[in-house]
Symmetry: C2
């Protein structure tokens, strides 16, 4: 059975400037065609380090995919490391050089001389076309192992992976098929969910079920492995249905569905519209809603009433109310939600008010105190939450909780 | 000289569900106390895989930091792998068990039986306190190598790193001191910047200067290594100043400064205020502005005028104008910016209008077309951009470009 190992290259990964999102993306795409990734190595911009990582990766798996280090600057050493690992010299590919020159000409720019190095490939290896950037990739073979080098810029890496890598790997999916499905939950803790699932999470079970947590979202990963692809798919699907029936309303979606996506689909299906009024989340809720293509079907108006004056001027919340109960109060949240719904003439509105920190807390109103109000034509539900986290996480958790409240409301 | 290697544990990392943000964080914090990370390994939830990664990490460096796999569920195997790597059995620590029980009691919950396993530590190793979660860490020693296991939940990992790991490593910074500085630029391409810097980016130079790109932001990493700490700091500082003088207005900040932070500081310093009106970016600009603690000093009002009706109702943009020039037009962007500034009575306003895709494009108005308008009491600058990227990147690039326009305006 084929498997893959990833080598992510760049000092920026080892000094912690950049998070390695490329590796996660490649893992996902390979798994979708039945090739599991068994290890990931991160190496710095140093030929020896890269060669060592390539060696270890080739020990682990028969497909090695490296990303990064193909740029035009002197710290880009993947070409050299590939040549050294393969035991061959680098050669300049004149056709490639012409293409790179053309890339600049088309943009009415002169090619910086630095970019010429990008036309070098290890002798005997093949360049991989980069339709949107100047860094071509590399395809090489060594002792039956397939080695790819892709650019580190995510958008270029993704396009090359789709066009030049995945089509070459499809014939490799012999033996065992791996089918992965996810079931995504909100509103319950990880170990409480694990207890509900009991033996389903046994380590020797096939499908294997893992759980991960991220900002209150629990993802259950179902991984089925079988020689027969359809059987693997059926097993994963059966488990997915089973988890949904055990966990009920805690489940908001499957696979890569997000809360804004699920809520957006439901609003579209029910032909309903929504407006938002945000204080402490400062646009994050609207951002999540408009992340979804086609959000204009159901989202029309948003207000970011960050100051008290804005709450009064933009949505008519009386200054008496703000004075009496405070800007962070159940009353203010309710007033904002109702006003936003009326002013935008939508079916629903969500208001979020709170103390995201790090300053602004009092004894009565601690950091992380958030009021969320979801209003509709016949009801308005306002709830109080305490999210004892950092500013960033208070804001994120408040937005996810608000979307989940709307999801449950849309369900009834 | 001490160095570290990181082992990130979890199937979710190999199936691509989770991006490894923990490794990047640990790299940054270690570098700040002079300990470079030389390699990162990702292993799945499998005892053998974890043990193999621990072995390789211990070959590379004298400090090994593992994260993940300390949760209460059956797929959490880091405790077992540590015991196997150390060649010792696991024991239950009764004091730890009591603490975990207490964690639940304080929250008025019953401890799920699953959580009892978190009180196990390899014999001879020490538990590390987890003040905010139930997963204690592990500290072990083997053949002069220091080994740490931390939880995978980022907020718990960070706290344990600060409280229990970094204080133990401070005495390890003997030998060479590594000082890293960053200079951050916007508005020019990576290779054009590299050409401006010339020999400063030579690979054998100390400090070493690397560059990375992310959504149009070019970061130049200066890495100085010297036996004397002050000398290393001085070298890094000198280079930082030099880059700033060569690159001029392209430089918006240093180290971890972000565009919203720099713009916020300048607004605060000049005692100016700002409002925003967003269409295609749907709240992302306001979100970036309010990411910064204390943004309420300068940010008061925001409008998300996602529909044409909202543009007219919320900010009085005439339907004739929208009809004649279209909602995505220079005229509409200018009208929104001016109206937002007047309605909020701020010193500046930014409006963003565009076609983020994937649908909505026409022959005259292609995907990625964005108009950004920055208005002040005596001028209004509206610019047209074409960002040929995905919906997510069009939105991100539009927001960064808008903040950069405001930055340059604040400079004059």
């Amino acid at each position: 059975m084929s498997s893959a190992s990833i080598v992510s290259i760049g000092n920026e990964l080892l000094i912690g400037h950049t998070t390695d999102t490329n590796a996660a993306y490649i893992c996902r795409r390979l798994l979708e065609i039945g090739i599991p990734v068994v290890s990931i190595y991160v190496a710095g911009d140093d030929t020896d380090q890269i060669v060592r990582a390539l060696k270890r990766a080739a020990e682990d798996a028969d497909i090695v995919i490296a990303t990064g280090g193909l740029g035009p600057t002197d710290d880009d050493l993947t070409r050299q490391a590939f040549a050294q690992f393969l035991g061959v010299p680098l050669r300049t590919d004149s056709e490639l050089l012409e293409k790179i020159r053309q890339f600049f000409t088309e943009r009415k720019l002169q090619m910086p001389e630095k970019n010429a190095v990008q036309a070098c490939v290890p002798s005997g290896a093949n360049p991989l076309d980069n339709p949107i950037g100047t860094a071509p990739g590399i395809l090489a073979e060594k002792e039956q192992k397939l080695l790819f080098a892709l650019p580190g810029v995510p958008v270029e890496m993704k396009q090359m992976l789709e066009n030049s890598v995945l089509p070459r790997l499809k014939h490799k999916q012999n033996g065992c098929f791996v089918v992965a499905k996810k079931v995504r939950c909100f509103g319950e803790g990880e170990s409480a969910i694990a207890e509900k699932l009991g033996d389903l999470m046994n380590r020797r079970r096939n499908p294997l079920i893992n759980s991960t947590v991220d900002s209150g979202i629990i993802t259950l990963h179902i991984i089925a492995a079988e020689a027969d692809k359809q059987k693997a798919q059926l097993m994963a699907q059966t488990d997915s249905d089973r988890l949904k029936s055990i966990l009920g309303d805690f489940v908001f979606g499957v696979d890569d569905q997000t809360l804004p996506e699920v809520v957006g689909q439901e609003l579209t299906r029910q032909k309903k519209t929504i407006a938002v009024a945000e204080s402490c989340t400062g646009g994050l809720l609207a951002k999540f809603i408009t992340d979804i293509p086609g959000a204009s079907e159901y989202f029309t108006h948003g207000w970011i009433t960050y100051s008290n004056k804005a709450k009064t001027e933009q949505l008519g919340v009386s200054s008496e109310l703000l004075q009496k109960h405070g800007a962070v109060s159940e009353q203010a949240a309710t007033a904002l939600a109702v006003a936003a719904m009326q002013k935008a003439r939508t079916d629903f509105a969500i208001a979020i008010i709170g103390i995201a920190g790090p300053s602004g807390a009092t004894e009565q109103k601690p950091l992380g105190l958030v009021y969320i109000s979801v209003s509709s034509y016949n009801s308005c539900q306002t709830r109080r939450f305490l999210f004892p986290y950092s500013r960033e996480l208070v804001r994120l958790r408040a937005v996810l909780t608000a979307l989940n409240m709307l999801r449950l409301k849309l369900r009834n």
